[in-house]
Amino acid sequence: MSPTRPLFLASLALVLSMSGSYHGNAGAPATVEGTVDASPVIAPPRASASRSRQVPGETTQLYWGDVHLHTNYSLDAYINGNTTMSPDQAYRFARGEEVMSQTGVRAKLLRPLDFLAVTDHSEYMGVHVRLAQKDPRLANWPVGKRWAELLAKGNRVNYLLDVLGTVQDNRPEDALPAGVNKSIWQDVVDAAERYYEPGRFTTLIGYEWSSTVSGDNLHRNVIFRGNGKALSKIVPFTNQDGRDPEQLWDWLGKFESSGGGKVLAIPHNANLSNGRMFSPNMSDGQPFTSDYVRTRARWEPLVEVTQIKGDGETDPKLTPDDEFADFERWDTTNLMNNKPKQPWMLQYEYARSVLGLGLEYESKLGANPFKFGMIGGTDAHTGLSGIEESNFMGKFPDSEPRAGRAMKRLSGLGPFNWTLSASGLTAAWARDNSRGAIFDAFARREVYATTGPRMKVRFFGGWKYNERDISRPDYVRVGYAKGVPMGGDLLRQKGNQPPRFMVVASKDPDGANLDRVQIIKGWLDANGKAHQKIYDVALSDGRKRDPKTGKAPPVGNSVNLAKATYTNSIGARELATLWSDPDFDPKTRAFYYARVIEIPTPRWTAFDAVRFGDKMAPEIPMILQERAYTSPIWYTP
């Protein structure tokens, strides 16, 4: 070993610090000499400002995106092999450019996204990237040295355990040297600024707070409304700063009152929380207080209900009569796989049940802590928000497209990759494609989740809609004028008239036809206990419900597995109906949301079987019925 090596590394560090530009992977933005001011580097809107880009009287447009994506700045992404896919790569891919994935796959979306939030874990964010960059401030950081030693001994398992333990523990000696956090966060903010192009592509600034208590997932994505200038002043809140959600909300409150702009938190993977995400107790084990329910409602208006690690709308054990409930479920354990799932836990995990619990709390405590809209995200750790079934980019580098990936285990030890769900996506009804407008749609819950496809769903509730309104070309205007969109509230009216709902669902313009539209209602009985019921409100192909079973016949199946294709010979291009609740009781609280089901199509495993010639075991699902879940409309007496 040459004695010159430590010297040259040190001298390199010196060189970098002298150049005054140690900004990590992203590097300092190039500055421009001359008349062009490119600092901060924000692409100006391409259209001239004087031209009208609005339709007079227009309400909302539909935008598609993902606010849950990890890059090599996430510690677990890096140790699972994503060393090169940075926030820059993530934005490029999401806006439709071709990039080279970590494993050398030329990756490109079939359809670009309209918005993206890179949400790397805040705990030790970017540290591995900085270690690889030989950031001089980390040269003798004890944790980095411990990891290097474990790696040098070839002890990968202990290394991974140590990394995960470090993230979950809070040992003062593990703290990062001063200034490192801030400069890493600045990289993240700078990357979001570089790719924000209002009107064309919105980058929302955010991160993931990753508290895992006893192996149970309590993770939240924190999404900011503001721009880089305001957000440069903070460093993200981590599990080391506080592992209780109450502490996170406290931080969010301080952030807003410090003038940084609006912010919200979005829980996900309650299905891996063993009942803890929506548990009936606060973090100290005490029952909810009226303060608690108000605070929670204030900061958490959305839940991510569908993603690669499973779908969380409902579970067959909770809703055995729901023939669509058994869908992409991960319901056997918690996040760290250290405690099997017990049946009692499910009610505190799945969205439909939890929305009902919210009504119970509201009637007892005066506010609904679980009054959330629904969105989908990927949670991919590859830097690639790619969940198109025919173009699924996987969860970690080892589930990126390649022969045999379905039969491998997630990062070597987890569940089989075939259980990964190529999901989900967020649809936002926003006034335009900008940070402010997308965030505001989130805040008023005018959003919905899909498991990947881009079906259009409009959902309005009101008291005065009539049969003619739904067939009007301008039913959207009527929808807003005479009622509320998804995410809204209906209050008690005079008389006992039931509320009416207009739902218009159209197939993904590039995708599969629709099987049916359902409205799912939850309500409280006289004893304050929540119930739920599914109504098939629109069926394709002239099908009728069997009066005896209450069920509609299945739509059929046009999938050809030999080629991984389907035809739109069944199902409907558009399903629209005006529905009024036949079981309405004006005295009881209720929520209503729409579930839109596609006809059967090939699952990503079917595309792999054709593309790579993979032999799939019989237990591997090859066909699925994709769906959309709208945010609910609540009725409060």
């Binding site: 070993m1 040459s2 004695p3 090596r5 430590p6 010297l7 040259f8 040190a10 001298s11 390199l12 010196l14 060189v15 002298m18 150049s19 530009s21 900004h23 992977n25 590097g27 300092a28 190039a30 000499e33 001359g34 062009v36 490119a38 580097v41 692409a43 100006p44 391409r46 259209a47 009208s52 880009r53 609005q54 339709v55 009287g57 227009e58 447009q61 140790i79 092999g81 060393t83 359809r111 270690l131 690889a132 960059q133 030989k134 001089p136 401030r137 040098a152 070839g154 290394y159 040297p177 335009d432 009007r472 070309p473 959207v476 159209s506 197939k507 313009p509 291009r573 558009e574 629209a576």
Partner: protein, 327 residues
């Protein structure tokens, strides 16, 4: 431009003694890369030394030498958080002797165990550490020169070389009235659209619209604000999209009928931004961003190419055949 050039002889020991030999090719390559206008040979000393360290095999004696001088110790101390309160420059002098000894001991332990671990090849055995080291080298290549400070002329040249990348995709803002072929039949849908058009553009046009939006409900939207061509194509079909984009914007007049995949339409087009070459001024920020990434990629590629020339990579005939088969 560089405020404090680093010379090979002051800071970096004695690299020139062993210049030439196996490193010459790489050095030449890097030097020539650094001569490119963008790199501006700012750091030749540092770069040469860096490559020297990477590419020179030490003799057996050298492998067992470890000399601790003030500079070595100061750099080591500096990288340990909390060692110095007053800052590294003053640090060593203000430390108590016992602390200096402890520091020497810590440095010795780290250096010797690091060397020995490497000598035993422990770094080779784990793909994670191999990948980390390989990435460290990649970062090194990318940061051989300080961040770009390109002139406007350089950015403009880059922009001209990558014109295709700076095409604004084009979008359209319009409202439409839809005549559903499924409901009315294609012939009727067309006829009714044709009949309504002159009335809408006539003196009573506003009154007709005020009385209620004519036509049928469309599966997607009634109004489209600054939506891109692929989105319009997916909902209306390519033929109608082409005709829409070829029409003139006139928010006071209805145009059509346009035939789509689901019927006929009358459109009031508020704005059309055709796909076009963006001017440099509009995309200067993007150009600067892309310039920086391209420059880093080029530096990394240059470094890798130099390595490929230094090492002899041979590919077995069997693998050769596999490569050709794949192709």
């Amino acid at each position: 431009m560089l405020e404090r050039p680093i010379s090979a002889s002051t800071d970096l020991g004695e690299p020139n003694r062993r210049a030439g030999g196996p490193t010459a090719g790489i050095r030449a390559r890097l030097v020539s890369a650094l001569r490119e206008p963008v790199v501006q040979f700012l750091l030749i000393g540092g770069a040469i030394f860096l490559l020297h360290g990477l590419t020179t095999k030490p003799s057996a004696d050298e492998q067992l030498d470890f000399r601790i001088d003030r500079a070595t110790l100061a750099r080591f101390a500096e990288s340990r958080p909390g060692t110095f309160e007053a800052g590294p420059a003053a640090g060593l002098t203000t430390m108590r002797p016992g602390e200096v000894s402890a520091l020497v001991e810590a440095l010795t332990r780290e250096e010797l165990s690091y060397r020995e671990a490497k000598a035993l090849g422990l770094d080779q055995q784990d793909y994670l550490i191999r990948r980390r080291l390989s990435q460290s080298l990649d970062f090194l290549f990318r940061n051989v020169a300080p961040p770009a400070r390109p002139s406007r002329a350089e950015l403009e040249a880059f922009y001209r070389q990558n014109l295709a990348h700076y095409v604004a995709p084009g979008d359209i803002t319009f409202s439409h009235i839809f005549f559903d072929a499924e409901r009315r039949g294609w012939k009727n849908a067309e006829k009714e659209a044709q009949q309504l058009l002159p009335r809408l553009n006539g003196p009573r046009g506003e009154a007709i619209m005020d009385a209620g939006w004519p036509g049928d409900r469309f599966a997607y939207e009634m109004n489209y604000a600054a939506r891109t061509r692929p989105l319009i194509e997916s909902q209306f079909g390519t033929e109608m999209t082409a005709r829409l984009f070829a029409s003139g914007a006139d928010s006071a007049r209805w145009q059509g009928p346009f035939r789509s995949t689901s019927g006929y339409h009358l459109a009031r087009i508020v704005d059309i931004a055709p796909s076009r070459q963006a001017r440099f001024e509009e995309v200067a920020g993007e150009v600067a961003r892309d310039y920086r990434l391209a420059r880093e990629d080029r530096m990394a590629a240059t470094g890798l190419q130099a390595l490929k020339e230094k090492y002899r990579v041979t590919i077995s005939p069997e693998v050769q055949r596999l490569m050709e088969k794949r192709r």
